[in-house]
Symmetry: C2
Subunit: 560 residues, 2 copies
């Protein structure tokens, strides 16, 4: 629809026909979970345009219930099946926006009537009807139960919606953490938020079967580890694959992922055919991967670009896709842009990782919430990717970082960004500036880092120095750690030297700020010290098992 609308605005004389196999055009598929939850009250709110409104406003001939069954590229015609009618339609320029279809995971019994997806308005209607039915029945009965398979963006939104409707929800995810695009140190924050809202998490395990359970239409979901979950409704969202059958059958070039291959103007291997959206291949920024990236923003702009190209106008060539994405999970926001650490590792791209936990606005102004940010940088300082989780201000920082990433900015550039500061909005040193500052220190060697993933070797091979206060230390600390509050460190460097006995020193505090100062003091004293990236906050997320508590009444140091 973006392409059709743009084409009309740019050319009043073109004959523009839109063929849609379903009964809906231009519906807000990103809004479906929010109507399921009830947050978007009116179903009609999801239908952005109708055939009538598109005809009146843009003189578009929109034909719903009209499936294109084949393309004759030589004749420049498409065959259309509409109800019992079939007819051919000729074209000068053809745009394929066939989208994606839900991936069917290898689970037995997906045809069980309790099983649904959540991609289309009919999907939504079906889940909604089932939930309405369950709630009406359950009023004086047990709490209805849902199983959601797949903890990606839509899966998490479905979980939130079903909990909002009063269901007890179990979430099953094959990867070892929720929201697989998110890096391992941030995902546990989402997992905690899900558990706090009563969601049962089943991570690192697949669902293997759905079987009939009762006459009431309920089901039993069995997991690979033998867990058996009762489910009155099952929502499966494990991703999508390009709907490129029509293109393939017409002999257009597809990539290895099955997505339609297009140039930077959205043109396919046939100069009279363009393609956009979830069905096409894109070049992924940073890693250079090529494949489908099903996101609304790029799809919309592809439509605009295709229209310009079809009309012979100047186009804005598609930039590599950053994969910027965001999700609300109850009170938390999680957002990503650019390459994750996992994808950098897979692509073999050398990088340094920075982790910080600043407030979303000035700390002295009430209501500051921590923004948990992770960013990766190339050795030359170039930003490669960033992710964030928090209750406030995450969307802003990820949007700034997505802009910086698109511009090819470096740690130096982030340090010097001039962002809007007044106490209710940010800090004189915004979290994005802080990412830049820390990255500068890491990249120029001013602040050698160690990482939570190195915990086991660090505990064995180095002295762990905890520079938090004695009170904080007593709340929980690493086994064998020496506790010297950072304010006492300068006068107690010899103690550290003695305890280290020639080993390296692995310093940490809560977030990495105090331990940065401490690390600098130790390095200046000629010691081999490194600072824990992201501090205790990151460590505790990745390794909740790591903390030991000081139960004795003795001072913390005596416990070492």
């Amino acid at each position: 629809m973006s392409a059709a609308a743009r084409a009309r605005r740019m050319d009043e004389t073109a004959e523009i026909t839109v063929l849609e196999q379903s009964d809906y055009v231009s519906f807000a598929n990103c809004g479906l979970p929010y109507h399921l939850s009830g947050e978007i009250e009116q179903r009609e709110s999801l239908v952005l345009h109708t055939t009538g409104s598109l005809a009146a406003t843009l003189a578009l001939d929109v034909r719903t219930g009209s499936r294109v069954t084949s393309i004759d590229r030589a004749a420049q015609t498409v065959s259309v099946s509409a109800g019992s009618d079939t007819y051919d339609l000729s074209y000068d320029a053809l745009l394929l926006s066939t989208g994606a279809v839900a991936v069917q995971p290898p689970i037995d019994g997906l045809d069980h009537p309790a099983v649904h997806s959540l991609r289309t308005i009919p999907d939504l209607d079906a889940v909604n009807a089932r939930v309405d039915h369950l709630l009406a029945r359950a009023a004086s009965d047990r709490q209805p139960r849902a199983v959601v398979v797949g903890a990606g963006f839509i899966g998490l939104e479905a979980v939130e919606a079903l909990v909002a409707r009063g269901l007890r929800v179990d979430l099953v995810e094959l990867a070892d953490h929720v929201l697989p695009p998110l890096d391992a140190e941030l995902a546990p924050l989402l997992a905690d938020e899900l558990r706090a809202h009563g969601v049962g998490l089943h991570l690192g395990v697949s669902a293997t079967s759905v079987t009939g359970a009762g006459d009431d239409g309920s089901a039993t979901v069995t997991l690979a580890d033998g867990t058996v979950l009762a489910a009155d409704v099952v929502v499966v969202n494990v991703g999508v694959r390009p709907a490129s059958d029509l293109a393939r059958d017409a002999g257009l070039d597809l990539g290895p992922s099955g997505a339609i291959r297009v140039d930077s103007d959205q043109r396919t291997s046939d100069p009279h055919v363009w393609a956009v959206g979830d069905a096409v291949e894109v070049l992924v920024a940073v890693t250079g991967a090529v494949g489908p990236v099903p996101l609304a923003g790029p799809a919309n702009r592809q439509g605009r670009r295709a229209a310009d190209s079809m009309l012979g106008r100047r186009t804005t060539p598609q930039a590599p896709v950053l994969g910027t994405a965001i999700v609300r999970v109850f009170g938390l926001t999680a957002a990503v842009t650019g390459a994750s650490q996992a994808s950098l590792a897979r692509a073999g791209i050398e990088h340094e990782v920075v982790r910080i936990h600043p407030g979303h606005h000035a700390g002295y102004f009430p209501g500051a919430e921590q923004v948990h940010l992770v960013a990766s940088f190339a050795p030359d300082g170039r930003l490669l990717g960033a992710q964030g989780v928090g209750r406030e201000g995450v969307d802003k920082r990820i949007d700034v970082l997505a802009t910086a990433l698109r511009a090819g900015m470096t740690a130096d550039d982030l340090a010097e960004l001039e962002l809007a500061y007044a106490p209710p909005y940010g800090s004189a040193k915004d979290p994005v500036n802080m990412l830049g500052f820390v990255a500068q220190n890491v990249l120029d060697g001013t602040m050698p880092q160690w990482h939570a993933s190195e915990l086991d070797t660090v505990g064995e091979e180095t002295l762990v120095l905890d520079v938090r206060s004695v009170d904080e230390f007593e709340q929980g600390h690493l086994e064998g750690a020496l506790n010297i509050p950072h304010t006492e460190l300068r006068e107690r460097v010899d103690e550290v030297r003695l305890a280290a006995a020639g080993r390296g020193i692995s310093v940490h505090c809560a977030s990495g700020v105090r331990s940065h100062i401490a690390t600098r003091v130790l390095v200046a004293a000629g010691l081999d010290a490194r600072n824990l990236s992201g501090g205790w906050l990151t460590l505790a997320a990745v390794r909740p098992d790591a903390a030991v508590r000081t139960d004795s009444a003795a001072p913390a140091l005596a416990a070492v």
Copy 2:
């Protein structure tokens, strides 16, 4: 303090002495209005560090109540006056961070005891004491009254704070709109918000005198237009000037504005002396102006840069300052980055202006608030500046635009930015993308514009075509406008041609979206049509006098 802290972290051996004439170091001056309002409850929250905490954490020798009276550059010493003591201190590297002092406007009677500024903690304490006194006294009496002189950032924050405390506030501003850095079409939104909170606005007029009024310490403020305002407290904030006397007396180069001249490493004309903050000159981005820009963010980074330079480390050279700034005015946020239209006009820089009013997130998701955005672009597409006002999401868009501006991005780049979209956070076409789309259309001639400022000539020389619905038209429209809803335009083009009678056609709708389609229809029909930038929303803000209403029961078209 940024410089001192950075210097210590980078060099454990340096002797670092901080000399401060007042009793406070490292206080949150941006937070002062929010303690006045009571939003920051504890005064101690504003004091970020003390001499003790700085000594313990960073081994800094911080001496408050210590005024530097002169610099002997040849001897590399400063003379310090501390109470009755005076002494000299030698330096290898000297940093001047002398800040700014409040500009005293030419108002008689500024020494009246009711008159205060709001720059320092003693200022705040004095205003707070006065307000406490007034409120205690006024409990069963009349509402206490305040006059705030100067409607800049701090003036507006002071107004908000005094209203929050229950005072009746009059605001006096010499410029013809509030927040002078804001462009004329956005400022009326703030003015409306101020009036809605009971603030009396006196714009385009100066205060000329403050005179004693009663035994209770109250005053009378007289304005140049003869208005007389009663005031129990007067807060004057009309800007600051660099506090560069010390530098001038030491023979350091100053610029024409009186600010200390520094290079991109913050070094003054003396290679052993650096300077930072409100006291120094910066290069202003876009216009190329040179002068002081008193903002917290750049000042902090200047401190960091100066420390690195003083220690001979690699520095991140200062980028031209964008002047990104933000203010909360009751429920509204106003923010700016880069050049305003007024400053572009003053600098003689050719530009096109784009004005849009999209929702801060998807319209189908509940709670979408309009973001009023204005951006200027060079003829080659380069972004020159952007401003925004709205209830939600303004800070995010201005931060993204500040990042884009720093990167030298164009309209094409904004169109292609990949920002985080889920219904609670944004739209698939984010407001920043929309700015890019509209700017592309303006710059490539697809969408010729007219501007609210041309209203008078447009009404005389062209046909005004209002493509809103009949209902909207009847709520208020321009005199002589022809109303044809955009959905009927294609079949009624001949009506337009007839009414235009060879003249140009000035099209508008509410925000510019429907009229864009309409303009394209008319241009395609060979007519000379232009679209009102920002639509009726912008027009009504700039020219609230322009609307006429249809009072007759006759259809709107009959009224033409």
